[in-house]
Symmetry: C2
């Protein structure tokens, strides 16, 4: 167990390092207002903290920097939940003051404001299809063989997918089919949609449609969508201003990760309600082993919708970021809950 004084010193060092990005020496710690020990005393404590694994030295004659374990302890035990300052709150409020009737718009604005307020890079995962229901399905023939299938969810999300028209199917057949589908499937959760093609409308269609197999294939494809669309960035270049990214190779690695939406989704997705902090290698990805990821989830009606998060260096302003994320995720939840209720 750490002593009171060790906690004080550990916090002081991490705070300092977060601000300056320079190794912190005993002298500068002892100069702080809230610390009244001599450099020598501090040095002794620092040596102990290093032995315990909370600090490390870049080299033998440098000051100390926090280890991953140090950051972890800092985040878990030394942070007091910070109240946001007023101007931040005003910024966020002003965003929600606008009329918002589309989820995507809200998401994009949130990503924007998040990166502006924190000057790190923000990543917002849009509502997953699961939690939304079908509002409207449309299949629009372009040529004899090709069509585009469009799906609109109750949240105003639009997905499109190119499909082949089954041999021998006429425009009128398609219209009829789409009508049947809309009648039967409207309001069905997107999660169940693919299953219900068979259970609910399969038999009906079989009666009306000649080329049953191809048609089913077409419908299956219509309902297939990628998760790519659900990843939004804010301030993509912000993080590159951090001194941690002076090296072009690091920049490239991260950029390449940004391009792989699938991967980003995997790294940022969070289920657990509340704030999640992943520090350095806890993220299990080399490109961000000197980064931390802080995420929060937003919900509606208690149902998990998506994730908002910040990517910054491990030397991140945890307290502030957590404050902003907490506040913003709650505001998003509020707004979305209203939005969803209206749609019912």
């Amino acid at each position: 167990m750490l002593t009171e004084r060790q906690l004080l010193i550990l916090k002081a060092i991490i705070d300092d390092y977060i601000r300056s990005a320079e190794p912190v020496g005993s002298r500068s710690v002892s100069k702080r207002e809230d610390i009244s020990y001599s450099p020598a005393t501090i040095r002794n404590e620092m040596a102990d903290l290093e032995e315990l694994g909370f600090l490390e030295k870049p080299h033998s004659s440098a000051g100390r920097i926090p280890s991953q374990k140090g950051y972890r302890y800092y985040v878990d035990h030394l942070l007091s939940p910070e109240l946001l300052n007023n101007s931040d709150i005003v910024d966020i409020k002003s965003m929600f003051a606008q009329k918002i009737h589309e989820v995507e718009q809200l998401i994009e604005q949130s990503a924007q404001i998040l990166s502006n307020l924190t000057s790190y890079t923000s990543i917002v995962l849009g509502p997953e299809v699961f939690d939304t229901t079908l509002k409207h399905l449309q299949i629009i023939p372009l040529t004899k063989e090709a069509a585009v299938a469009i799906i609109v969810t109750d949240t105003g999300h639009v997905e499109k997918q190119a499909v082949d028209i089954p041999q021998g199917m006429e425009v009128t057949d398609i219209e009829m089919m789409v009508n049947i589908l809309n009648e039967r499937l409207k309001g069905v959760s997107m999660l169940e949609l693919r299953g219900k093609i068979f259970s609910e409308v399969g038999n009906v269609l079989k009666m009306h449609i000649s080329n049953y197999k191809d048609t089913m294939q077409m419908l299956e494809k219509s309902f297939t969508h990628e998760k790519n669309d659900h990843v939004f960035f804010g301030g993509k270049t912000n993080i590159f201003s951090q001194p941690e990214f002076r090296d072009v190779e690091k920049v490239r690695q991260l950029l390449e990760m940004f391009e792989e939406k699938q991967l980003v989704h995997q790294i940022f997705r969070s289920d657990s309600s509340g704030i999640t902090v992943k520090i350095g290698q806890e993220n299990k990805l080399e490109a961000i082993d000197n980064c931390s990821v802080i995420t929060a989830t937003y919900t509606a009606d208690g149902k998990h919708l998506g994730t908002i998060g910040i990517l910054g260096p491990t030397r991140m302003e945890y307290q502030r970021v957590i404050g902003v994320l907490d506040y913003l995720s709650k505001d998003m939840t509020n707004t979305l809950t209203k939005l969803y209720q209206r749609n019912k």
Copy 2:
């Protein structure tokens, strides 16, 4: 006017520099197979070429590098149209062998293959709305006040836009209106669409719809779309492997440009048929003053559709890039012409 020998030497130097990214000295030029002069002679010619503005020195005891004027001359007079090598052609062909029934798919693949073949960054501007016609319009109410308007073009392009539902308008009203609009506007060029709302359907709607003014506003908004969606990148990080981008600040500047789709559009858009080469500061943008942009246009039925282009360092393999762009743009034109004809 440059002498035969000066041309030979200028070309040798630029070729060398493009390959090595290192200033080229007289000795290494004289060693080339196609050059039979001594270093001293080369030096004299180099001094002359420098005086004429085609070459410059990074410092007094370094070799020469091409100036912007040098590149310009090289591109305009020293390039022989290169035949693509076979493996490139195979790569491109294999892409077009796939079944393509959606324009966007073709665009994205083209961007991909372009960056793979050149190892620079490719940028493809999708077909502008202008040249396409309306296939289908749909307005789907989400709540009492909000709806989403969806437009499908004959090329399979889907655009969506959130709109407000005018006071007092019922779901049945919307359905009726959408029917009228589809009847009257199907096949109309997207360019004329906004105008025709008033001229063609304005009167009819006035008869049926109570809240005329708000309705028109909603329709206007439905037909308003941004150009953002039409910019596609391939190999975004490729260019950062170039030694020109060892400096993080340069990387950041370029990345920020990438985010501004509007700006990218403006820089890359090309009207003139054939290949366009813009070298260094000819691009009038600081972020890319050490880059060159080569673009080609693709068409269908002789109508300008969009632009494909490459962004690389001024020290770019012009000959090869021009060859690839030329070949690919023609293949795209072919494919699209077929695609459009089928849609008629």
